[in-house]
């Protein structure tokens, strides 16, 4: 495999967490402009996959290779599943968005007025203009989610990792949010963990099914039979003229 084609490659990677194998013998690659939906059952290892790519969890076996320009840590943006930040902490929206540039600042971390301008521009793009100096406990869940998306993209990453972004998105912003992701996808590859295939199916270009093993499905269409074959026991919602949910047939 020529690493130049890919942003990163996982080569028979196995990962353990608390002495249990979470990911086993995984081959996976992410190319430029990819928009991959990472699906699979709870506890199947979706978040672990993101953490391995981020370098937070060690690899037990196998190799992860990055394209040279990916080795700068700022080249990966990350939107965590749970908001680990303390909403009562005294930071402003601008502060949080700027924190996405922390690594570029090395250890001594002054922010320039240009950094601040860039943060304000991104805050505006995300529809949060006027809230630059608000503290986080004044925001709704959906607004908070956008602030954290701003933090993930301010460093102009080449790869954006999203962990269940739908959890906090309110329905009024849902279309905007995924539309924004589609925009971002023109500049960066996106890897999005989600359990809600119904919504993401109109945005992602391909799927990775993670359930200890990883199966890559290179098309945007995926069927129940394929999911079954991949060992991915999840519910699939289809689109049609009448909105409806398809449940597994009775035997």
């Amino acid at each position: 495999m020529n690493i130049k084609d890919s942003l990163l490659e996982l080569d028979s990677v196995s990962v353990t967490y608390d002495r249990e194998i979470v990911l086993e013998d995984i081959d996976f690659r992410v190319r430029e402009n990819d928009f991959i939906g990472v699906i699979g059952p709870n506890g199947g290892g979706k978040t672990t996959l993101l953490k391995v790519i981020l370098g937070v969890l060690p690899v037990l076996k196998g190799k992860i290779r990055f394209r040279d320009d990916m080795l700068n840590m700022n080249s990966i943006g990350y939107l965590p599943q749970v908001h680990t930040g303390d909403a009562g902490f005294p930071v402003s929206v601008t502060d949080v968005v700027m924190s996405g540039m922390m690594i570029r600042k090395k250890i001594i971390s002054r922010m320039s007025s240009r950094d601040r301008e860039k943060a304000h521009q991104i805050i505006g793009e995300l529809g949060l203009a006027g809230m630059e100096n608000s503290s986080l406990d004044e925001l709704s869940g959906g607004q908070l989610q956008r602030v954290f998306l701003g933090r993930a993209i301010i460093g102009d990453p080449k790869l954006l990792l999203l962990d269940e972004p739908g959890n906090f998105v309110d329905s009024t912003f849902e279309n905007d949010f995924y539309g924004k992701l589609r925009d971002l996808n023109k500049r960066m590859a996106i890897l999005m963990v989600s359990h809600d295939i119904g919504i993401i199916s109109s945005y992602v270009k391909s799927y990775a099914c993670v359930n200890r093993k990883l199966h890559y499905h290179p098309e945007a269409e995926i069927t129940n039979e394929q999911l079954l074959a991949y060992g991915c026991p999840i519910k699939l919602i289809t689109h049609g003229d009448v909105p409806h949910t398809v449940l597994k047939a009775h035997s």
Binding site: M73, P80, T84, D86, F89, P90, S99, M102, S109, R110
Partner: protein, 285 residues
């Protein structure tokens, strides 16, 4: 003449002590309060009493013993809870009592009378030496430089440690250095307010500041100012009323905090009212 000089020395030492205590406690206190580490800091404080006892027994400087104990217990708690070996609050509770017990046993075993025991428990400006004041002065300088140089880093790690970890492998190193500085700051302030009371020097001023601002750097500045006001006022009151200085300082700080709360409540409701009036004056079309 002699008495004047003594009084002059007493006032200067008191003033500088109060100033340096307010600076160190204001900076470290903002870190402790915003990171919700108050209980952890209480554990460090009381564990360091073990070091004071051992210092006495071994005939060395008790503050050095306390510093060693304080820093080691801080690292111990961080390490144990980070590796999920024990629940953090349990670890703190155990260390808290263990430190006190160790201190009491070694002071008891020390031959002769331990004259400054009460001053370590409740603080006394009278027993504060020039060296204590100088140490606090140096600590003030160290904290100012450290927090100014690493302001953003400290802010972001405090706000969202697990996210910071995805960006930088230095998060743990930073946490340990900052925790060590905080532990050292607490120990140096024990001379001022005592093991039992010192923590309120760290917790009350940031809580006063946070009633009026949500900007981290301003919380630090207002913590130092309100801390100094409370410490200086308490110092003067205790001198004229002839009551223990540590307790008087804490009492004064709590009064300031309660007053500030009332003011911020009042101004908050006034502002809301003004806002409502403005809204209702808008033309309806």
């Amino acid at each position: 003449m002699q008495a004047d000089l003594l009084q002059y020395d007493f006032i200067v030492k008191g003033f500088l002590g109060a100033l340096f205590a307010s600076i160190t406690a204001g900076i470290a206190g903002t870190y402790i309060v915003t990171r919700k580490m108050v209980f952890l800091s209480g554990g460090i404080t009381h564990a360091s009493f073990g070091g004071i006892g051992i210092g006495y027994f071994a005939g060395m400087n008790p503050v050095a013993g306390a510093a060693l104990f304080g820093i080691l217990s801080a690292f111990g708690i961080e390490y144990l809870s980070m590796n999920h070996k024990i629940r953090e609050d349990s670890a703190i509770g155990i260390l808290w009592a263990f430190g006190m017990a160790t201190g009491i046993i070694f002071i008891y075993l020390t031959p002769g009378y331990a004259p400054n025991l009460m001053s370590y428990l409740f603080g006394s400006i009278l027993t504060v030496t020039d060296a204590d004041v100088a140490a606090l002065g140096i600590m003030s300088l160290v904290l100012i430089v450290y927090f100014a140089a690493f302001y953003r880093t400290i802010l972001y790690i405090s706000f969202d440690e697990s996210f910071a970890r995805t960006y930088s492998p230095l998060v743990n190193a930073f946490k340990y250095v900052t925790t060590a500085l905080v532990a050292l700051t607490i120990v140096l302030n024990i001379r001022m307010a005592g093991v039992v009371l010192v923590l309120s020097l760290f917790t009350i001023p940031p809580n006063i500041a946070m009633l009026f601002t949500r900007v981290y750097s301003r919380i630090i500045v207002w913590s130092v100012i309100s801390g100094f006001a409370g410490t200086a006022a308490g110092y003067i009151i205790s001198y004229y009323a002839g009551i223990p200085v540590g307790a008087t300082i804490i009492f004064t700080l709590v009064i300031i905090w309660l007053t500030a709360r009332m003011i911020s409540r009042l101004s908050g409701s006034l502002r809301r009212k003004a806002h409502l009036i403005k809204k209702s004056n808008l033309p309806i079309n």
